[in-house]
């Protein structure tokens, strides 16, 4: 076997109930490779609760706690308290929630967990809508995207509101570690997981997880679309360690955002003016991110 660039261990089984080409399924597989077997995962109502546990089976080789959609943050605070009380040493406590269960329904529990300084990793896997219930818009759905509750018909042109900046909310809590991860870049993904694993305190991952049925693209293109999201600047890769931001994938010249948008049916109705608007927003966000990196660098030590 050629040298592997990510850990060989598999802590996710086949036979799970994810759709073909599922981004969240790959995200879980890569996450557990980096964390290892001494891991407890708390999963709220989301795609993954269905993926992991068609009765009476489990798709994970680590322990899974099934919890309610608003409670992921609280549940991992509780799991950490229980692990401490039992004297369990070196165990990773992980909450693995969708964007709806994080940006909308579980936001206060996430805030509570971060503010309590719970020693745990909270993962938001972001497929940008309530996909398990059939593609309803969430706070993390981007502007202009079609969903079943932001239809395209007559005057209706997809979601009229912009995507919620969950990372901004998380960073306001001064977490020990926070990062954006993308399964299309497995080595970068794994480095961040292994780094966060060895940090004590509240940690947060925002993972970009394309959804073929919900975003309307061919299931073979999940990785290609993930790469495009980062290389166009729609989903930049960075990490924030003790408040200092570092961009982990530098793209000299961003690709036009139209390449990313035109690859998905959910953006098919966008006009050239819409695309120009999105391009301007992505560019200014990217410049703001680079500016913050420069400033944080000048502050360092």
């Amino acid at each position: 076997m050629a040298k592997l660039t990510i850990p060989a261990q598999e802590l996710m089984y086949g036979g799970h109930a994810a759709c073909p080409g599922c981004g969240p399924a790959l995200a879980m597989r890569l996450l557990l490779k980096g964390l290892g077997p001494r891991t407890l995962v708390s999963i709220p109502a989301c795609c993954w609760t269905v993926i992991a546990t068609p009765y009476p089976t489990t798709a994970l080789k680590v322990a899974v706690l099934d919890n309610a959609i608003e409670s992921t943050g609280a549940s991992i605070s509780g799991l950490r308290a229980a692990a401490d009380a039992l004297g369990l040493d070196k165990v990773n406590i992980v909450g693995f929630a969708g964007d709806g269960g994080t940006a909308d329904i579980g936001l206060q529990a996430l805030s509570g967990m971060l503010e309590r300084r719970t020693d745990a990793i909270y993962v938001m896997y972001d497929n940008e809508a309530y996909m398990n219930t059939g593609i309803q818009r969430s706070g993390a759905t981007p502007w202009g995207a079609w969903t079943t509750t932001t239809p395209v018909a007559g005057d209706l042109r997809g979601k009229p509101e912009p995507k919620k900046d969950v990372m901004g909310i998380v960073l306001a809590h001064r977490p020990a570690y926070a990062a954006t991860l993308n399964p299309a870049f497995p080595e970068d993904f794994n480095q961040k997981v292994e780094k966060a694993r060895d940090i004590v305190g509240p940690r947060f991952f925002h993972i970009f997880t394309p959804c073929p049925p919900g975003w309307k693209f061919d299931s073979a293109q999940t990785i290609a679309l993930g790469r495009l999201a980062t290389d166009t600047g729609v989903f930049p890769l960075y990490e924030v360690v003790e408040g200092r931001l570092r961009i982990t994938r530098k793209t000299g010249q961003l690709k036009p955002v139209a390449e990313y948008l035109s690859a998905q049916g959910r953006f098919r109705h966008l006009t050239p003016d819409d695309v120009t608007l999105i391009q301007a927003q992505v560019r200014s966000d990217w410049e703001r991110l680079q500016k913050r990196e420069r400033e944080d660098l000048s502050l360092a030590h």
Binding site: G14, A18, C19, P56
Partner: protein, 284 residues
């Protein structure tokens, strides 16, 4: 009362077909009922839906175990799903297939019918070759084969309830109506061979599930299978790295091989393979 069971794959429109049939029956003045089986609603996964049609309100709320008609939207399901289970002796088995109904295996007495709904759907630009939307063509065939609804009722239902491409769907229903082939029942037909059923799962005791999901095979979800041409494989492991189904393992020489019981045929490995050694081949 006429009871009809639909078998399809997630994304193919089996649930919508059942609802549309109910709408058509309603427009014919009947009292229909339609609901899906609540299961794994994933693209490609086997899906079941039920429809009852009667002259009086239907009080029954159970799933259909002894159908008068079974409709199969994807012939690939014949090999993996017990579609004909419980079919009444004089019932009808309607399959979307380019092959004549003589090729179908059905219980004694069951009338066999087939319609090439995939060809009809693609001729009317409904769906893609990977995922043709065959439901209106199949419903046209069902209307002819069973008389459960009139073509007129079906046409009106398509016009009222199909938001996308109503005209193309109307034409597909008509072509399905005209294109179906039905064989009379053959009471002396040999019984179909008994189907091998998976052994029953042994449930663990205690509160922690410990049955691996690998006891569930997802091969039936697949419409295309990856085939690796190892002569050009560079052992780069990209296929393994990006597989969301943990369906790639390595042989003793370090070459990748597909775990076919778990591969759902998403095509990521073929798309990401740098030397393009993986080919997606349509399932027979």
């Amino acid at each position: 009362m006429i009871e009809i069971r639909f078998h399809g794959r997630g994304g193919q429109g089996a649930v919508v077909a059942s609802e549309l049939l109910a709408q058509a029956a309603f427009l014919d003045g009947k009292q229909p009922q339609s609901f899906p089986f609540f299961g794994v609603e994933r693209r490609g996964a086997p899906v079941t839906a039920y429809c009852r049609v009667d002259d009086r309100p239907v009080g029954l709320r159970t799933s259909i175990t002894a159908p008068d008609a079974v409709v199969v939207l994807d012939p690939g399901l014949l090999a993996t799903e017990p579609v004909a289970d419980g079919l009444k002796p004089n019932g009808i088995l309607l399959v979307n297939s380019p092959r004549p109904p003589q090729a179908l295996i059905a219980p004694a007495g069951v009338r066999r019918a087939s319609v090439d709904a995939t060809r009809i759907a693609l001729a009317h630009n409904l769906g893609t070759p990977m995922l043709p939307i065959v439901n209106t063509a199949v419903l046209g065939a069902l209307a002819r084969a069973t008389g459960v609804v009139s073509l007129e009722g079906l046409t009106r239902a398509v016009g009222q309830f199909v938001p996308a491409r109503p005209e193309e769907n109307r034409l597909a229903a008509r072509d399905g109506y005209l294109g179906v082939t039905v064989l009379p029942g053959d009471a002396s037909a040999p019984a179909p061979p008994p189907r091998a059923r998976p052994p029953p799962l042994v449930l663990p005791e205690g509160p922690i599930a410990s049955v691996s999901s690998e006891t569930l095979h997802t091969a039936a979800w697949r419409t295309f299978t990856p085939v690796i041409h190892l002569d050009r494989c560079t052992k780069c492991n990209f296929c393994w790295k990006f597989c969301p189904d943990d369906a790639i393992e390595f042989d003793a020489k370090g070459y990748p091989q597909i775990r076919l019981a778990y591969c759902k045929g998403c095509g990521i490995c073929a798309a990401e393979c740098p030397p393009k050694t993986i080919e997606m081949v349509a399932e027979a």
